[in-house]
């Protein structure tokens, strides 16, 4: 087993005129895991994905997918064979029926798995004879997933796959991603839905205004990220300075209360608070939602 990154970018950037859609992006996505790419609408997620797939030319920096440089047109075809992409708009041919769409797509790939198609058609309850045009958004997503999964890709990239799906549709989608990862496919998907990411992802990258503001393992977040609420009956001098410890990301004070946001080292914060005669110290875990809001607000 190799641990070489599946996606790697160095200083990758894209500007449209004066607008920087993506800035100086150093992104690393490890193999055999589920990585979520979080960000508000317009944060630069789709632009990044399109650069990775060679659909948009970067204005600066470099990147590689499965070890092949993203600008290299010769390597591009190779990469496209091993990477499955489910786009935001699930671009499919609207005039085709589900069955025609499947047959059409299968003709491009040597490793097409007809048995998987058969199973998924049934599992997703897709009507083979119906035109793509007349399908609901959820159904269209399922067709796009089926086409991606039929190939056992090495890397599966999905851009906002849960957009427009109802709760049951989202469950089905997450289940499909889990199953695909269990088969050895690396999954990279963008989203702005924190709840769905929190469960299923191994790693979370947060993009904001085109910059990477967080890259952390979800285990690490649960283990180390803490919110510490402290009360001081008499305020010590230079309170803020006293708490500038390693891992402390943000400090807020209100009267006798103080709130410390730490990405690690919560023990040291608690110890310092005790030394300064705090009357109450409460440590609570920080959810991905709080981290997301924190990162988005401070940047």
């Amino acid at each position: 087993m190799t641990n070489a990154p599946v996606i790697e970018t160095n200083g990758l950037g894209k500007s449209y005129g004066k607008t920087n859609a993506v800035r100086d992006l150093d992104l690393t996505v490890g193999p055999d895991r589920i990585t979520a790419f979080l960000g508000l609408n317009g944060a630069g997620k789709s632009t990044t994905i399109r650069m990775l797939l060679g659909m948009v030319k970067p204005s600066g920096g470099s990147g590689a997918v499965l070890g092949k440089s993203i600008g290299d047109p010769a390597a591009g075809l190779d990469v496209r064979r091993q990477v499955a992409y489910v786009s935001e708009d699930k671009r499919l041919y609207a005039y085709m029926t589900v069955e025609q769409m499947i047959r059409f797509t299968s003709s491009f790939y040597l490793d097409w798995r007809a048995d998987v198609v058969k199973t998924l058609l049934k599992q997703y309850d897709l009507p083979p004879g119906q035109k793509i045009r007349s399908l609901s958004k959820g159904m269209r997503t399922k067709v796009a997933l089926l086409l991606a999964f039929a190939r056992r890709p090495e890397l599966l990239i999905l851009d906002e796959p849960s957009e427009g799906l109802d709760p049951v549709g989202i469950e089905d989608l997450l289940q499909a991603l889990v199953a695909q990862c269990a088969e050895g496919t690396t999954v990279f998907f963008s989203s702005h839905q924190i709840a769905e990411v929190e469960r299923v992802a191994d790693q979370v990258c947060i993009l904001h205004h085109g910059r990477l503001v967080l890259d952390a393992s979800v285990d690490d977040i649960r283990q180390s990220y803490r919110q510490i609420d402290i009360v001081f009956p008499s305020l010590p001098a230079e309170l803020q300075v006293q708490f500038q410890l390693a891992g402390v990301e943000n400090i807020r004070t209100r009267g006798h209360q103080m709130n410390v946001f730490a990405s690690r080292n919560a023990d040291a914060v608690v110890e310092r608070a005790r030394d300064l005669h705090a009357s109450s110290i409460e440590v609570t875990p920080v959810g991905l939602r709080d981290i997301f809001l924190q990162k988005v607000k401070e940047n």
Binding site: R33, Q175, V178, A179, C181, D202, R222, Q223
Partner: protein, 130 residues
């Protein structure tokens, strides 16, 4: 076997799963030799990354609680030491529930009891560290 993972709890999901499997073995819901679901099956059921399940299984194998048989899955393997532990845990459970009853009778609320237990454990572990 039913497992419930809390994504919002301040503990990695694989640790939550490990604890629940351990607990199920201690209270007899999972008995010696019982087979656990495959990694993919359990991951799909819990809607978590397969790596979460794989990590929990492999750590439990390391701890001697599970046996991973190539191609056929994970099985509970309760050693004699672990069985003795099970008995001890059952006895402790009884004592803890008696104490809780006493404290409730004295008018303490459940959150207060919970906080006291937690604070007591924190003090203990700090004393050990020093």
């Amino acid at each position: 076997m039913f497992f419930r993972l809390k994504p919002s709890a301040g503990q990695p999901l694989y640790l939550q799963l490990m604890e629940q499997i351990r607990h199920a073995i201690e209270n007899g819901a999972l008995q010696d030799g019982a087979q656990l679901p495959g990694i993919r099956t359990l991951a799909e059921e819990l809607l978590v990354s397969p790596n979460t399940v794989a990590k929990a299984y492999s750590e439990l194998e390391h701890a001697g609680v599970l046996e991973l048989r190539h191609g056929s899955g994970a099985f509970v393997s309760v050693s004699r030491r672990a069985r003795a532990l099970t008995d001890r845990v059952r006895a402790a459970e009884k004592r803890v529930s008696n104490l809780i009853e006493e404290l409730r009778a004295e008018g303490l609320r459940d959150e207060e009891i919970c906080r006291l237990f937690e604070a007591g454990l924190v003090q203990q572990s700090e004393a050990v560290r020093k």
